[in-house]
Amino acid sequence: MNPSDLTAILPELVLVLAGAIVVLADAFAPGLRPRFGVFAGLSAAGALALRWTGPLPGAVWSGALAVDPLARFVDTYVLAALLLVAVMADPYLKRTKARYGEFYGLLLWSAVGAMTLAKADSLVVVFVGLELLSITLYVLNAFHRDSAISLEAGWKYLVVGAFASALLLFGIALLYGATGTFSLRAVAQVVGSRPLAGNPLLLAGLALLLAGFAFKLALVPFHAWAPDVYQGSPTPVTAFLSVVPKGVVLVALARAVASVAPQAITPRWVPLLAAVAIASQVLGNLVAISQRDIKRMLAYSGIAHMGYALVGVVAFGLDGIAGALVYLAAYTFMNIAAFAVVSAFSENEDEPHLINDLAGQGWQRPFLSFALSISMFSLAGIPPTVGFVAKFLVFRAAVNEGMAWLAIVGVMNSLVSVFFYVRVVYYLYMKPLPRRAPDYSEPWPVRIVAGVCALAIVILGMFPALVLGAGELAARTLLR
């Protein structure tokens, strides 16, 4: 083992350690519980600083991990999400009387799993990273031990997640059988050297790998778990769950696509991914229209958004991958802003978070409502928000690759989606306050998170070069 191997994963080590400290402190110094959120946030910020000041050596740990600009891009967004979620979680946990160190410990370790997955250059590490990410999230979903819907969410995510892991593992086994290696690079060489058509083992392995990823991304037809899990999980966990696993799995998928040389299997690969992308967009947007619970609506909207982001992966190339990465960054800010506001605009966690209950809040609680509106307009893809820029980039990639039809399907779906996103704004500003005005709190950490996200949505929307440049740099490492 090289010393450089250790310095390359220093941010992960910091988070593992910080998670252990929080869990131990909860047991031995419970008086510190109100400070855990700050501590977790600081650890995330520290890890972020380490990632940006540390080296990017490329392949480390004998090629098992790739610490490259792509990894740094993904780490940045995982850690930003972690930081924002840690800040918004504290008032929520206090309100729901669940302020325990385990929450932050699991959250930090979950981020480590995500960061590992995003760097994985070996199929075994892909699996390890995914399991660390998933198992911690199973517990977090069910963190409200007394709440039936929270337990249901955890249970559902566990069953479905285990199923997905099994598919993935089987796919990895088949790929190993077909190629004799776990390394994605080596798989790429094997794939490049022989025709795929006559190799059912390899094709089946790839298909299972794709299915396993699609489960985690909640892509159609592997999406059915998402609404219940989103609805039942504690809202800060939903925020984390809705962006971090999806983002890193999409990057893992992009790494896999890059290494199995898409041009070699294009006739099969592109229509398959495109079909999944379109089906996710159509189903996600259409079903979201009929949702009355905002968390369920955001679950279906998330299915649709992964469909849009997948368009970037389908188009591939510098434009496509950079577009998909920008999409992930945009999606992170939009979703966390939305869930942060939802976590505040709720009285009782066992009750559904009805969109109706937002009526009139726009004039009652202008700050959070404004942030939620910006998030909704961004999700709908209306300029000058980063959501528009992201959609523009992936659709542009599709057009440039000669798939204008994919872009047209995408914009048609955006049109449908405007209907339910704008409905949230309609309830906020155009519906009168109900006679019994709900008693929502506006804790300042939530205000900060929502404000930062809303600001990021608008600033990145006006100056997209800030994130596109990093996305292009990251995408280049994939197209080596």
Partner: protein, 497 residues
């Protein structure tokens, strides 16, 4: 003020003031009203400065600004002004302060939100007229959507939600396809030139292949992508159904901006983008658009005639007027195009004035039904005079602005499309019929309802809001050359004549 940021200053001043106002307490209503008025007057000042320094002999874009935005994609922050955008920017900058003055005593609730929305809307409109980068144009184009949604949905009439959602969905349905067309255009430019660009000037150099049939012709498809967005905005006949709802339900200020300027973005877009970028497709689509324009002229006039609600009547008259503008654009001669352009201004002035005046009476009586009025001339002489002036301008009485526009459009089109002109001319007659019958029923007859005996005449604020519109109606009617000369070289360049 250095030369190269004059246009940015014009565009961004209202929007930035709007954003600053967000941070002020909502009780500071006086501050909001005055800040809104000041910001829009500042924008008017910048626009007037541009007018003073504008060189009408130069067909190219002036006061050009070009900054990098997304260089790897070929997107730039590019602004420029030619004669066409100048007159439309002047119209926009003029109408906005009028909106603030007219809503001074009309909007009492959520004043801050109203002012902020109006200022952001103005930034979007000015930006769309001045953008010379297709991506930037699209951003400004969509930027108008959200404020307008709020203006209709929050401060509108009874069916405001329906109208607001319909407005958003119609507009987006068109503009999203335009987005794909814009992306494809840049892709086509890359295929021919080897570099990425979204710059308008670059697209002018591009010749998009015409191909065979509709579905295999890139030029036809791109033309359709752009034209759909613009035809919905204008609105051209079968796509007009959002307009009566939006116009009628919007508050007075919203209606003035909507009819006065937003609709012009559609005709502006046709002239700016469809005409020079897709000349063959333009020629192929001309019969279709002329037919739709003529149908719109007659249909709009007939439906307007049947209305009992004054605001709805004015809204449907917009369909007629916009039909004339489309006719002038597609007839394609210098005279008809110039006529279409001046008619855009005229329609902004006269319809803006009519909405303003209908709003005045609605404020006093809370009804807009024609049958609730009668004999107002005796009670409100000043108001009657203003309404008559706006009506005469609208129906094209010689000596006022409407005559100039309609005359240029019809004479310019006659040589090429006599049948369309003859049919369109019946629209003028119908226009006189429904507007004059409106005048008769509202102002002449005897006073039928006792409430109407005590109506107050125009206040000084209402008169102040109307005055610039009235002056310009006469000015353009008597000396249209002031404005026609500004745009002539630019129009020549676009229509290649």
């Amino acid at each position: 003020m250095p030369t190269d940021s004059l246009l940015s200053a014009t565009i961004l001043t209202p929007g930035l003031v709007g954003l600053l106002l967000l941070a002020t307490p909502r009780e500071a209503v006086r501050l909001h009203r005055w800040a809104g008025l000041a910001a829009s007057l500042l924008a008017l000042g910048f626009a007037a400065t541009a007018w003073a320094r504008f060189d009408p002999a130069n067909a190219a874009f002036q006061f050009v600004e070009a900054r990098q935005w997304l260089p790897s994609v070929g997107i730039g922050y590019r602004l420029g002004m030619d004669g066409i955008s100048l007159v439309l920017v002047l119209l926009t900058a003029l109408l906005q302060p009028i909106v603030f003055i007219s809503s001074w005593h009309q909007i009492h609730e959520k004043v801050k939100g109203y002012v902020v929305c109006m200022l952001l809307l103005e930034t979007g409109i000015l930006g769309a007229f001045l953008a010379t980068d297709l991506f930037l144009f699209y951003v400004f184009w969509e930027l108008m959507l959200v404020p307008m949604y709020f203006i209709i949905g929050v401060w509108g009439g009874e069916r405001r939600i329906y109208a607001a959602v319909k407005f958003v969905l119609f507009t987006l349905a068109g503009s999203l396809l335009m987005l794909v067309a814009i992306i494809y255009l840049s892709f086509a430019y890359h295929a021919q030139a080897g570099t990425w660009s979204f710059a308008y000037e670059d697209m002018l150099k591009l010749s998009v292949p015409m191909g065979q049939g509709f579905w295999h012709s890139p030029q036809m498809l791109l033309f359709a992508g752009f034209a759909m967005a613009f035809a919905i905005k204008i609105p051209v006949f079968p796509l007009h159904t959002w307009l009566p709802d939006a116009h009628t339900e919007a508050p007075t200020g919203g209606s003035i901006i909507l009819a006065g300027v937003l609709l012009k973005l559609g005709t502006y877009g046709l002239l700016r983008f469809n005409r020079p970028l897709f000349p063959q497709a333009w020629a192929a689509a001309t019969p279709l658009f002329l037919t739709l324009a003529v149908i719109g002229i007659i249909y709009g006039a007939l439906v307007a005639w049947a209305q009992r609600d004054m605001k709805k009547l004015v809204a449907y008259s917009s369909v007629t007027h916009m039909g004339f503008i489309v006719l002038g654009l597609f007839a394609g001669t210098l005279a008809s195009t110039q006529g279409a352009l001046i008619q855009m201004i005229n329609h902004g002035l006269s319809t803006g004035a009519l909405f303003l005046l209908v709003g005045v009476i609605y404020d006093r009586r809370h009804t807009r039904l024609i049958e609730d009025f009668g004999g107002l001339a005796a009670v409100m002489p000043l108001y009657t005079g203003a309404f008559l002036l706006a009506t005469f301008a609208s129906i094209g009485l010689p000596g006022l602005n409407g005559f100039v526009g309609e005359f240029l459009i019809l004479t310019g089109s006659f040589a090429r499309y006599p049948a369309a002109v003859v049919l369109a001319a019946t629209g003028i007659v119908l226009g006189a019929v429904y507007m004059l019958s409106l005048i008769q029923r509202v102002f002449w007859n005897a006073i039928s309802q006792p409430e109407n005996r005590t109506l107050a005449d125009l206040t000084w604020q209402e008169a102040l809001a109307f005055a610039p519109l009235g002056i310009l109606m006469v000015w353009i009617g008597v000396h249209p050359g002031t404005f026609l000369s500004l745009s002539e070289t630019a129009v020549r360049r676009l229509i290649g004549g």
